[in-house]
Symmetry: C2
Subunit: 186 residues, 2 copies
């Protein structure tokens, strides 16, 4: 389908040249269509970017579901999920930013909000599993889940922004996460 191809092309352009590389003209051309063919499938540029974000949230949710059914301990599952987010942010920074650092996109897009909620729901489920075997403190599940997700996002955002520089004696994202884990399991 043309629509799917446009979304895929947009994702590729995001990975190759960042958000500024995603012009609707480039998307149309790379899909072998005219410069405004995208308008036959998306209301505007933001709607196309939101479609990319929705697909990525879906893929993350599927990946998290898969992690949940793996034979690891609850805590290892949770850590694996969080670390996969770190990997995603490093390999596809522009697309990652669409998910967690693009307020204007989510603002008027209920479906995108629903997908991010579903993704967070997977984290909530993993946190719940940890709590049931006492691998996490006895705080509200949703609080722990949002706090953990926020920590991961904050760390990768700071890393991307050059604030977390190992050269300046600052710990890496992984070291920070390990510290967070040790603080939680005291």
């Amino acid at each position: 389908m043309t629509r799917d191809k446009l979304v895929q092309v947009a994702a590729t352009l995001l990975d190759r040249g960042g958000e500024q590389a995603v012009t609707l003209r480039a998307v149309g051309h790379a899909a072998g269509l005219s410069h405004n063919a995208p308008y036959k499938h998306f209301r505007n540029r933001d709607a196309l970017l939101a479609a990319v974000a929705i697909e990525d949230f879906e893929a993350l949710t599927v990946a998290f579901t898969s992690v949940r059914s793996s034979p690891c301990s609850p805590k290892d599952k949770l850590l694996a999920a969080l670390l996969s987010l770190v990997t995603f942010s490093r390999e596809k920074p522009a697309r990652y930013r669409l998910l967690f650092s693009a307020p204007s996109l989510a603002e008027a897009n209920p479906e995108l909000q629903a997908r991010s909620a579903a993704c967070l729901g997977e984290i909530v489920a993993m946190v719940d599993a940890c709590k049931s075997v006492a691998e996490l403190p006895d705080a509200p599940t949703k609080s722990l889940a949002s706090l953990l997700l926020a920590t991961v996002h904050g760390l990768v955002a700071m890393e991307a922004n050059g604030i977390l520089q190992p050269a300046k004696g600052l710990p890496t994202v992984e070291e920070n996460l390990a510290l967070m884990a040790s603080l939680l399991s005291r």
Copy 2:
């Protein structure tokens, strides 16, 4: 000075209409100059935005220094500093995003990186003061400081992205920070 006026105009436009409202033409016009006067003071648009970010980092650093010399307990100082970041992100979201969610800006701007490092340095100092009176766990100071800053940034980013919706039973930024504080002081 014209340069300062351009930076101030850019900041005002950011607050009023977000990053997309900051066109160099609008900046020049709002400063009573021609559409390309900004080029006499800044290499390009990114350099102007970076100048705004640098001023904001400086102001934050000054505010943090002031908090440090207040008569509160070390822990209250740290919390006050972190909460002032939350306030900043809510009142001036576009400018806040320039500080912590604009990788392309910091990438080729050593001065901006230095200012963000100085700002983080204030947090480090406050964390150190907490540790010296045993109000924080005995983990490396820089690790605790970066972890705390990351948590705050992650929370306000998730809030801005509509992921932290109190309507869906999720805790507010403040509630999450209180949980983080309680986890640290166990």
